[in-house]
Structures are given as structure tokens and as C-alpha cells.
């Protein structure tokens, strides 16, 4: 057991606002595990010790922070007074606290002298003292974010710094007493310079409660209508599930419900989420109204409607040219004439039907667009979703061709694989889910081989049609995907948190940083503790809002496999959709 006389270090966290306070006693919290004292305020002379103890008891009851008298503080503008120092030591006996910290400042000197009185220690040791200045307001308002990867493990082993932040944050009630209050005790600590309220902010706060109640009532009406039985019939429910506009509107409805609920936010996360949703909605609606004002000026809607039909016609013409090319000798490949003509004519007829349908609608297009454009005032995301739906509707024939081509190709591939097994004398055992050998009759073998040959030689034609229509479909899917990505970005970006990080960076703290101030020999080490704000990447990661869609759920390998086998692909599925 080595008896080394080593320095035990005592840390005193002193608020920078109390540096110019008059003499008095220090109150705060003593954290014995860390050998540190967090000073929260200075109580000035004259005071009655009993009243101070009473006050501290009250504060302790309300804030659940063990506040006690830590020591004495003397700020002598003239030379050091001997009687004062004795008086201060005597105070140590009245408020017995172990250890009793004495800090004294002379005149305007930056270097303070600190000493510790330990009455009950058996071996007196030289304690080194570190004086850490902190900004009370910033530490009180900031929220410490633990490192992401260890959030679960470190929960019990709370870091030392979070204890300090916690102490200051929970003692908020202590900071509410104003220095001009007439009371038995006069305190110095951080003061708010009066509630910065403009009349507008106060009015908004008063008006927000009835506004929230009205909004909740309207939303409950709306959700009641949405859930009513009328809209649940088969064609309508199918339509609602396919249109992304309805999904987006439902999502925004949920957001509105979150904001307008009357429950106050319990913790920081809920408060930030509410604020983020509110700002996101506001920006969305503002951008939507901007878009609307741009669209409705100079009759742009009319121009858009006028160009829509020619564009649809043009697309149909291009498709017809493509099919004529496929029916000839595409890229020099020789197709099976009969099958080629059948498929080509089938698809051409479809295009003809589609074009007649579009032409039927053409007188109404402008009016429909005009009314649909009005819904852009609900938000830019809604407008983008409508655009995505319009693209889907206009390219519906491409989707149909893709489905036909894929189904044909899929049938062919399955037929080929099964007949290939027959060709080799094997069979798929459904019970055992494996390939078994099987003895076929001669006529079975003959017909099987014949069919296999037919399917094999017809494969290139079907494969080519499938390839062409799959590529077109993928193009449309990519365009829709980009639009949905933008919508998701607007939905999930935590704008309020980002603006907070920009303007009031001390509110979101990743940790602290220390700066060493000027030192003088013989005086305690002086450090300044500042808040280290979170990086922007972590702000987005921590506070991003959840969205309703998930990204390509198939990996590239499974996507390629599905394409090869001819299974239908829906890469941009939404969460909550049943798996096929």
C-alpha cells in the first residue's frame, strides 16, 4: 500500500455571470463521485442562515437537485479586509459542508485565489483546484446528445458532463427569482432580461389553444369521412391505394394530427419533432402557393393543357414506329414472322384504343387540370405527387404492354424449363421440392420434345418484345422514383433542427470543449467550458422525420433474377403493402 502524497484535484464550475457579484456565499451542488462542485448562484449579505437553509430546502424539494451551500465568495474592491476573511471562515461552521470552498477576488484581477477547508480529513493533502467557467444560460438551454453507437450501453453509466448539464437544467426554478425581487434572500445568477415578448408572439400563444382545438375537431371530422364505409368499396379502395397523392395526403393528415394534439411535449425529442413537422408543413404550403401563383399567371395551365394532348399523341406515334420496327427485322435479327405479326398487331390495336380514349378526354383536360392545379395549395409535395400520378396515367399503356410481355415471357420460360427437364428425363417433385428422375412414355416424350422445340425457337421474338417493353417501363419507373425521392426529401428533412443548429448552435450539444485561459503561478488553473455543437450530418440523422415509403426493397441481384425470369417488378413499394 503506497502512501503517496498525490494531489487530489477539485473542480469548481463557476458561472461567468457571477464574476462581478458582491461578496456572499456560494450555493450549488456538490458531486462527490467526481470531486466537483457546480456553483449555481451567490447569496449576498445580509442574510439569516435559517432562511437560507429554508430556501434551499424548498428548492431541493421542487427541483430534486441536492442544492447546498458550498462555500464563500469574496469580491473586495479595496484591499483585503482581515475581518471579512475571518467572518467567512466562521460561516463555514454554520453551514457545515465538506469541503468548504473559499474563492476570493481582489479588485479587477483576473486571477482569483481559491482555498479549501477540510475539517474532517485525517491526512491533509494539497488539493489542486481547477476553476472552470461556464455560461449558465447556454448550459441550461442546451441538450446533450450522447454518441450514437453507444446510446444503449452508456445509459446507465451517465457521463460526468451530463450530470453537470442536468444539474443546471433542472435548477431552472432557481433562476426564476429576479434580482429586484423583495425577499429575504438576494441572489446573483443568470437573469433573463425580461421575457422577450412582442405583442404578436403573446397573442399567437393565446390564440394557439383554441386554434389547436378547432384543428383537432376538423381533422377528426375529416378522418371520420375517410374511414366511412362509402369509400371502402372495391373500385374506390383500389384506386386510393394506387394513387400516391392519397398516400401523401394521408401522411400530411397524420402530421397535422400530431401538431394539433393538446398534450404538451414530454421531452426534447417530441418537442423537436413537433417543431420540425410544423416548419416542414409551413415551407411545403408556402412553396406550393408559390408554384400555384406561377402556374395560374399568364394562363400557363391552358398552355400546359394544350401541350398535353400533342405530347401523348407523339408518344403513341413513337410507340407505333417502334412496333413497326419490331415487326420488321429489328437490329438485323430475323423474327418468327407469324408470331411477330400477331404480337405487333395486338399491341398496335391497344395503342389505337388508348389514343381514341385520350382524344375523347381532350375537351375536358383544361378544366380538369385547372381544378387539380388548385390542390397545389395543399403543398408542393402534393403537387409533385399529382405530377407523378399524371405520368403514371399517361404511360398506362406502357405498363399494360409491360405486363403482357412479361406474362408471355414468364410463361415461356417456365414452359421451357419444365420441358427441358422432360427432355433430360427428369421431373419436378412438388412434394419433395426437388428434381427427380422420371420415366416417360414414348408419346409423352414425343409431344414434350416437339413443344420444347417450338417454344425454344419462338423465344427470341418474345424475349425481344419483353426486353423493349421492360426498358420503357423501367424508364417510367425511374422518373416516378426521382419525383418520389424529392417528395421524401421535403417530407423528412428536419428544417427546424437545421435552422436551430445554424442560429442557436448551443441548443444542440454533442459535447463540450475547454479553452485554457491565462494562468498565473500559484493560482488555480482557469478553464473556459464551451458547448461543442452537433455536426449537421448528425442533426439530420437524429431528427429526421419518418416517411411512409421505403426504397428499392429488392437488392440488385434479386432484381436481375426477377427480370430474367419475367416476374413483374414493383421497385418502389410503400411500407405497409402486402408482399406478393
Amino acid at each position: 500500500m503506497s502512501l503517496q502524497v498525490t494531489a487530489m484535484v477539485l473542480k469548481v464550475f463557476f458561472p461567468s455571470c457571477c464574476s462581478s457579484a458582491d461578496s456572499g456565499i456560494l450555493i450549488g451542488r456538490w458531486i462527490s463521485e467526481q470531486n466537483s462542485a457546480v456553483v449555481l448562484a451567490v447569496v449576498h449579505f445580509p442574510f439569516i442562515p435559517v432562511q437560507v437553509k429554508q430556501y434551499l430546502g424548498e428548492v431541493q424539494r421542487v427541483t430534486k437537485v441536492s442544492v447546498s451551500v458550498l462555500g464563500s465568495w469574496s469580491n473586495s474592491k479595496q484591499e483585503k479586509e482581515e475581518s471579512l476573511s475571518e467572518f467567512l471562515e466562521d460561516l463555514g461552521t454554520i453551514f457545515c459542508h465538506e469541503p468548504w470552498i473559499q474563492i476570493s477576488k481582489e479588485g479587477d484581477s483576473k486571477f482569483w485565489s481559491c482555498s479549501i477547508l477540510q475539517k474532517h480529513s485525517k491526512n491533509p493533502q494539497e488539493e489542486e483546484i481547477i476553476l472552470v467557467y461556464y455560461d449558465q444560460r447556454k448550459v441550461m438551454l442546451s441538450h446533450l446528445h450522447p454518441p450514437l453507437d453507444t446510446a444503449g450501453q452508456r445509459a446507465e453509466d451517465a457521463s460526468k458532463l451530463s450530470a453537470i448539464f442536468d444539474t443546471v437544467a433542472r435548477s431552472q426554478v432557481l433562476f426564476m427569482t429576479d434580482r429586484y425581487d423583495e425577499g429575504p434572500i438576494k441572489l446573483t445568477h443568470w437573469q433573463s432580461d425580461g421575457v422577450e415578448a412582442s405583442i404578436i408572439v403573446e397573442l399567437l400563444k393565446q390564440a394557439s389553444v383554441p386554434a389547436c382545438m378547432l384543428l383537432t375537431f376538423l381533422l377528426s371530422l375529416l378522418s371520420g369521412i375517410c374511414r366511412s364505409r362509402v369509400l371502402k368499396f372495391w373500385p374506390l379502395s383500389f384506386l386510393w391505394s394506387k394513387l400516391s397523392t392519397c398516400e401523401q395526403l394521408g401522411h400530411r393528415l397524420q402530421h397535422l394530427q400530431v401538431i394539433s394534439s393538446n398534450k404538451k411535449a414530454q421531452n426534447q425529442n417530441q418537442l423537436m419533432r413537433k417543431a420540425n413537422i410544423f416548419v416542414s408543413l409551413l415551407i411545403d404550403v408556402a412553396l406550393g402557393i408559390l408554384l400555384m401563383s406561377w402556374l395560374y399567371r399568364k394562363n400557363r395551365i391552358g398552355q400546359l393543357a394544350d401541350t398535353l394532348i400533342p405530347v401523348a399523341d407523339h408518344v403513341a406515334e413513337e410507340l407505333q414506329d417502334l412496333l413497326q420496327w419490331l415487326m420488321g427485322a429489328p437490329a438485323g435479327l430475323k423474327m418468327n414472322r407469324a408470331l411477330d405479326q400477331v404480337l405487333g398487331r395486338f399491341f398496335l390495336y391497344h395503342i389505337h384504343l388508348w389514343i381514341s380514349y385520350i382524344h375523347l378526354l381532350s375537351p375536358f383536360i383544361e378544366m380538369i387540370l385547372w381544378y387539380v392545379g388548385l390542390s397545389a395549395c395543399l403543398g408542393l409535395t402534393v403537387a409533385l405527387c399529382i405530377l407523378s400520378d399524371i405520368v403514371a396515367l399517361l404511360t398506362f399503356h406502357i405498363y399494360c404492354f409491360y405486363v403482357y410481355g412479361a406474362r408471355l415471357y414468364c410463361l415461356k420460360i417456365y414452359g421451357l424449363s419444365s420441358l427441358w427437364r422432360l427432355f433430360r428425363g427428369k421431373k419436378w417433385n412438388v412434394l419433395r421440392q426437388r428434381v427427380d428422375s422420371c420415366s416417360y412414355d414414348l408419346d409423352q416424350l414425343f409431344i414434350g420434345t416437339l413443344l420444347f422445340t417450338i417454344l425454344l425457337f419462338l423465344l427470341p421474338t418474345t424475349a425481344l418484345y419483353y426486353l423493349v417493353f421492360t426498358l420503357l417501363r423501367l424508364l417510367v419507373v425511374i422518373v416516378q422514383g426521382i419525383i418520389h425521392l424529392v417528395v421524401d426529401l421535403i417530407d423528412s428533412l428536419p428544417l427546424y433542427s437545421l435552422i436551430l443548429r445554424l442560429c442557436r448552435s448551443y441548443r444542440l450539444a454533442a459535447g463540450v470543449k475547454f479553452r485554457v485561459l491565462e494562468q498565473q503561478d500559484g493560482k488555480p488553473l482557469r478553464l473556459l467550458m464551451q458547448i461543442n455543437p452537433l455536426s449537421y450530418g448528425r442533426v439530420v440523422q437524429t431528427y429526421r422525420l419518418p416517411t411512409y415509403s421505403c426504397y428499392p426493397r429488392d437488392s440488385w441481384a434479386s432484381l436481375c433474377k426477377k427480370l430474367f425470369l419475367g416476374e413483374l417488378i414493383y421497385p418502389w413499394k410503400h411500407k405497409g403493402d402486402k408482399q406478393n
Binding site: S2, Q4, T6, A7, M8, V9, Q153, G511, L525, L527
Partner: protein, 191 residues
């Protein structure tokens, strides 16, 4: 008290190590790399502008020149603010923690503070970097569940990469302060 010594980095570039002792348990060690040289800056700018002028002569489009100016400015700002690290410093405060700061050429400082309870030890390790084997100083973080385990390794001085002689100086200074905390719990038991 401050002292400064010159060393070489792993790439042969001259660096300077500055040690300051603020108090018995607080030391600051700063490694400063070479500043941005005017001649390399002028060389890069001239090369980019010559290339842009050549393109302009070929294509007769004045947008090329404005694009070149824009790219040079944006590239310089990005380089100074995100890439060029002037000084890396280590502030060891016994009983509080270790603070690692990187100062960029534009004045930006990025700081990380590791509390003393999480620090297991400061060691010199070897690593294979590109085609070389270099020594680097790192802080080992304690695993909260396993007292013998290491949860994370935080490498220091990654941009200046000092050689072993400089690292040994820094290592000795750090260990002097880290040793103090090992003896402190014993004196608690004596009480």
C-alpha cells in the same frame, strides 16, 4: 512554460511540436504542419487558367473563363475550409479528460473531448498506410462492460503524421499526467 522543437513527419515534411505546461495536471501539445505555400497556390491557379484559356481559344465561348474562375474560387475555399489542417493539438487535463483539436487553414476548429473515465490508455501503434508502415499515437477507450476490453481506438495527429521521435515526446508527456490518476484512487482508500 512553452517549448518548441522541430521534427519531421512521416512524409519528410518539417513539422514543429510545441509543449506548454499550464499547471501540474494540465498540458497542451500542438503539432503544427507547414502552411499553404504561395508558389503552389499560384502554380495550381495558373495551370487551371491556362487550360481554361486554351479551351476558350478552341471553343470561343466566354463561359469557359467564368467557369474556370468560379471553380478556382470554390475549390480554394473548400480546400482551406475542409482539407488543409494547419495544427493538431492535444490538451490533457488530468481528472477532466483529453481534448483533441484540429485547426484548419480557414480558421475553423473541430474539437472532440473525451472524458477521463472513458480513456483506458494512450499508446503508440503501428499501421500500414499506403505503401509504408508508420507509427501513430492513439487513445484507447474503455469498454464499459469489459474492464479489460477496448471499445474504440481514436488515432491522433492523422494529418501531420509525426515520426517516432516526436511521438515518443508526446507519449511521455501524456503518460506523466495519466499516471497521476492511477494513484489517486488509492489515496481515496487510505481515507
Amino acid at each position: 512554460m512553452a517549448e518548441q522543437r522541430r521534427f519531421l513527419s512521416a512524409a519528410g515534411v518539417p513539422i514543429a511540436l510545441r509543449r506548454r505546461q499550464h499547471s501540474a495536471s494540465c498540458r497542451e501539445l500542438a503539432v503544427r504542419g507547414p502552411r499553404l505555400q504561395l508558389r503552389s497556390l499560384s502554380a495550381v491557379t495558373s495551370a487551371v487558367w491556362l487550360a481554361a484559356y486554351g479551351l476558350f481559344a478552341l471553343s470561343e465561348n466566354s463561359m469557359v473563363l467564368s467557369a474556370a474562375i468560379f471553380i478556382t474560387l470554390i475549390g480554394l475555399i473548400i480546400y482551406l475550409h475542409f482539407v488543409k489542417i494547419d495544427q493538431e493539438s492535444l490538451l490533457v487535463i488530468g481528472s477532466l479528460g483529453i481534448q483533441v483539436t484540429s485547426s484548419y487553414a480557414s480558421g475553423k476548429e473541430s474539437t472532440t473531448f473525451i472524458e477521463m473515465a472513458q480513456v483506458k490508455d494512450v499508446v503508440i501503434n503501428e499501421a500500414i498506410h499506403m505503401q509504408k508502415v508508420i507509427y501513430y499515437l492513439c487513445i484507447l477507450l474503455q469498454d464499459p462492460e469489459d474492464p479489460q476490453g477496448v471499445s474504440e481506438v481514436v488515432p491522433l495527429f492523422q494529418s501531420s503524421k509525426p515520426r517516432l521521435d516526436c511521438l515518443i515526446e508526446v507519449y511521455k508527456s501524456c503518460q506523466e499526467i495519466l499516471e497521476q490518476r492511477k494513484t489517486v484512487p488509492q489515496s481515496n482508500e487510505i481515507k
